[in-house]
């Protein structure tokens, strides 16, 4: 459900990015040192490998108010630990479909491979994820799950 244009303007989505240390984090670093301009909505959490990213991290991010989540790591065949990204690929393929089946809009989740040399691609991933979350508006459906406070 897209927001009306004036609301989209006013809403700044919060995006949490879980990235691997070796490729995407370095790629994001490159984007920064190259002074690429990009949307400032993404908070990066660095982990050793996409294989270390438990899908529960994504749930936790939504629980704590994220409007979108990015999971990003090394391209296939580039994993620092040989196969962490292949394991992650399977896990997140299933996770993504389960979340979709339970009614989470697929646009709230972004998966990408960004290598250490792809600063430009990181910028695209960030801008793209931000734009999609902005279009959907705040993830109120998830926030409404919060238990009734005292």
């Amino acid at each position: 459900m897209a927001l009306p244009a004036e609301k989209i303007e006013a809403f700044e989505p919060r995006i949490t990015a879980f990235v691997c240390n070796w490729c995407t984090y370095t790629g994001a670093d490159l984007a920064g040192t190259s002074r690429l301009q990009m949307d400032p909505n993404v908070r990066i959490i660095r982990l050793p490998c996409t294989g270390r990213i438990d899908p529960l991290f994504v749930i936790k991010a939504f629980e704590r108010g994220a409007d979108g989540v990015i999971v990003s790591g090394c391209h296939p065949a580039d994993c620092h630990y040989t196969s962490g990204n292949y394991h992650a690929r399977r896990r997140f393929a299933v996770f993504n479909e389960i979340l979709g089946f339970l009614g989470v809009e697929p646009e709230r989740l972004t998966f990408s491979w960004v290598s250490a040399s792809e600063g430009q691609k990181w910028r695209e991933v960030v801008n793209d994820a931000t734009a999609r979350a902005r279009r959907l508006g705040p993830f109120d459906a998830f926030r409404a799950l919060a238990g009734r406070s005292a």
Binding site: P55, R90, V94, W113, L145
Partner: protein, 290 residues
């Protein structure tokens, strides 16, 4: 029945096993039975009310079961897939269990009462079942049975849900999960939920809120579903045990569809087939990754 009772008697009196796990007549229909004395073998039954998946009792989490000695377990073809799962995930050693397969013509959703097996009373997993002949077994007893009555219904319901908009699907599941009281019955009866300490019980850090409010419930059901991917054997025990009647079987069926479609994996009673999560292929589809 006689064949099953005789076999149990022989296994117990010869000292091959210390307990035979099967079914008996209880105050409310068929129920699990634990025969430790050969003389009690005549209590064993098998009929369409024997819906329970007894493989749960092989779980290493149950020290009081282990004390009864080596177990013989009676399994339907579908239940044998759970035994295979325990073998695959090294929870049980093959030489530590005697598997008695029974030929099945479908079971009722509810083990209570004496209602005949019809399209209305049959468990939703049974129509169209392809696992009725037990392969993973040391002994197979009983005659070949007719096809279970009725037609599969879950795939049509899944297609209906898939066709809805995301907010509608969200609303559907939220209404179901709203009834959840986090009693964890779904987990405790599951033959594949054998973790010594479930992530749902961890408190430092607490990954899953234990409160049965919508946020905690959503996190739990996503996690349960994910941890069952490629492991669930679709025995339906979680749904049967649920005191809130949440249609977990629907979610399990969806997951089975996902792993079949993506990884060409189907629940099997062959313990040598590796589980899809934990393995990978270079050529796994990655259309969802930018």
């Amino acid at each position: 029945m006689k064949e099953l009772q005789e076999l149990a008697r022989t296994l117990l009196s010869s000292g091959t096993v210390g307990v035979v796990i099967g079914w008996e007549e209880g105050p409310r229909g068929a129920r699990p039975a634990f025969i430790t004395d050969a003389a009690d073998s005549s209590r064993l039954i098998f009929d369409h009310r024997c819906t329970h998946n007894l493989a749960t009792y092989l779980s290493p989490r149950r020290p009081h079961m282990a004390r009864l000695g080596k177990a013989a377990i009676v399994v339907k073809g579908c239940d044998a897939r759970a035994v295979a799962g325990l073998l695959r995930e090294t929870q049980v050693k093959r030489e530590d269990v005697v598997i008695i397969g029974v030929r099945c013509g479908g079971v009722a959703a509810d083990p209570a009462g004496a209602k005949p097996l019809t399209a209305e009373t049959v468990a939703e997993r049974c129509p169209g079942c392809t696992a009725r002949e037990p392969h993973l077994a040391d002994h197979v007893v009983g005659e070949a049975q007719p096809e279970p009555p009725g037609a599969p219904t879950r795939d049509a319901r899944i297609a209906e849900l898939d066709a809805m908009s995301a907010p509608k699907r969200w609303a559907f599941w939220q209404a179901e999960f709203a009834r959840c009281i986090r009693c964890n019955a779904c987990r405790e009866v599951c033959p594949m939920c054998f973790c010594e300490r479930c992530v749902g019980d961890k408190t430092e850090p607490q990954w899953l809120e234990s409160s049965p409010h919508p946020r905690g419930n959503f996190a739990w059901h996503v996690t349960r579903a994910l941890h069952q991917a490629g492991r669930c054997v679709d025995c339906g025990e979680c749904q049967r045990a649920c005191p809130a009647d949440i249609p977990l079987g629907l979610l399990n069926r969806k997951i089975a569809g996902i792993v079949a479609d993506r990884f060409d994996y189907r629940a099997t009673d062959d313990p040598t087939v590796p589980a899809p999560i934990g393995a990978f292929s270079m050529s796994d589809r990655q259309e969802f990754i930018l």
